[in-house]
Subunit: 321 residues, 2 copies
Amino acid sequence: LSKPTAAQQAAELVTRLLGGDRAALARVITHLERDGAGAREIDTLLAPHVGRAYTVGVTGAPGAGKSTIVGSLLAAALAQNQRTAVLALDPVSPLTHGAILGDRLRMEHITADERVFVRSMTADAHGGGLSVVTPLAIRALDAAGWPWIFVETVGVGQSEIDIVEAAATTVVVLNPGWGDEVQSIKAGLMEVADIFVINKCDRDGAAETRRDLERLIAQAPPSAWKPPIVDTIANQGSGVDALWQAINDHRGFQEQSQLLPGRRDRFLRLALRSLAQQSLNARIERFGASARFKDLLGKVTRGEDSIHSAADKLLKQLLKD
Amino acid sequence: LSKPTAAQQAAELVTRLLGGDRAALARVITHLERDGAGAREIDTLLAPHVGRAYTVGVTGAPGAGKSTIVGSLLAAALAQNQRTAVLALDPVSPLTHGAILGDRLRMEHITADERVFVRSMTADAHGGGLSVVTPLAIRALDAAGWPWIFVETVGVGQSEIDIVEAAATTVVVLNPGWGDEVQSIKAGLMEVADIFVINKCDRDGAAETRRDLERLIAQAPPSAWKPPIVDTIANQGSGVDALWQAINDHRGFQEQSQLLPGRRDRFLRLALRSLAQQSLNARIERFGASARFKDLLGKVTRGEDSIHSAADKLLKQLLKD
């Protein structure tokens, strides 16, 4: 008997995934992460089966309590017998793996439940980064029939902001006393938030943080949806039902206002743009090792060429290859 | 009299910049930020005059004390009559402007000195982001004859890490008690640090943070340069001389080991790659508004095409235009 080809293995895995096999789903996501043989075939086979899931992005700084909130939301969804999947993204290097996993152990007591699927992914798993793998993994969860998908990520860079923005509902988690955080690192997220959470709302500064947020919301361009601010103490379960309600309200609002096709387009745009950029970056990397690129660098170093002109030549070369 | 062309204005500005005119330098950087008429000519005119400056990148989380440290380093450099320029980068949205500037007022008492040049830049100033503008601004400062250039940025995303990594010496600033930070958000920076600073070292947890760092350094691949850890209380000036010494030690080490040409190549690679990517992204954005792109999205939405195959078509189209 000959060994099955990558395409045959992919077909078998996807058949099992579509039949509800959790192990097959996990293996499919691993294939997508590694971008190995079969990743392309897998997405082709999944394509006719996607389009039913509702995606919720949850983001905020490290330590804000994102994992605890997602864990509590899982419980709230289960109380209504809603099956829910979680993608926990770790946009940092291999060194960090332990710490992040430790943080996520809190979710584990719940993951024995058949109605829950939890998966962590790291950026280093893949040359293209999480903005390439995440949309593909969401499509796999969608095709596997998971109606709710929570995507949890640290909101540190533009690509992470892109990822949560591609969700149908985006939740931004803050803590009291984060006036400076609200003003600085989180500003990009302010612009994409559908719902704000002030977690650990029993701590000093909660009122000021709420006031800061209200001012930012008031300054935003007028819109039919005004982001609510939900107070939570997630590790005591306090406020989580209100948050689950706010998520469902936002979903209902978007369904009524016919906004979901636009959100889906935004998600696909992100996925397409990320894959195309990945492919272009691969060309730049390949060319970067060439003698012609060293020539280009040498000319710039000796002041014989400008950066702009050298970049033009680089691009021309890339597009020719 | 006819109005001078952009090229004529650029030539006049660059002549003044090369003659030591600070206002001309500031205007040149503004031109580069806006990528307006003349930006390309400016870099061409600067090209023969660059290659003498030494660039130090300073990064860390918001609130770590980067601005205070850079301000103190300026004072240490001045005490040795070293002329020094600072580029303070703000990789966030326009909303944040006030807060970051407030943080940087501390530097202002020193900026009346002729031997100092301080400039802030924001990411939103330019479609291509700071990874495009920063190398161009560094080249302008270099050509203007500034022998030391400090680049200060919040180490939040990959592009910010790229920027500080392109410096000849990279300083990573941490605070005591940041065990979790060391493990998570800063891990990418661990790999690029030439010097670590534990600022506010009189606070609880300094010893643990040092131990965490020492363990990370010990785990790193063996190298001729072992990153030192410098304790500072920057707002009291404590430890800053030791940090200035460590920077000079690292510079001396790299000069002796002939490592600076490699660093310069890395800097130019970043600059070229960023400019080329910016140009490619502009093509993607343009195409994203086209009817053909909507067709592509529609096929994926209806499950008639996979993401990979649609991305291939997108790329083919981009390279044809």
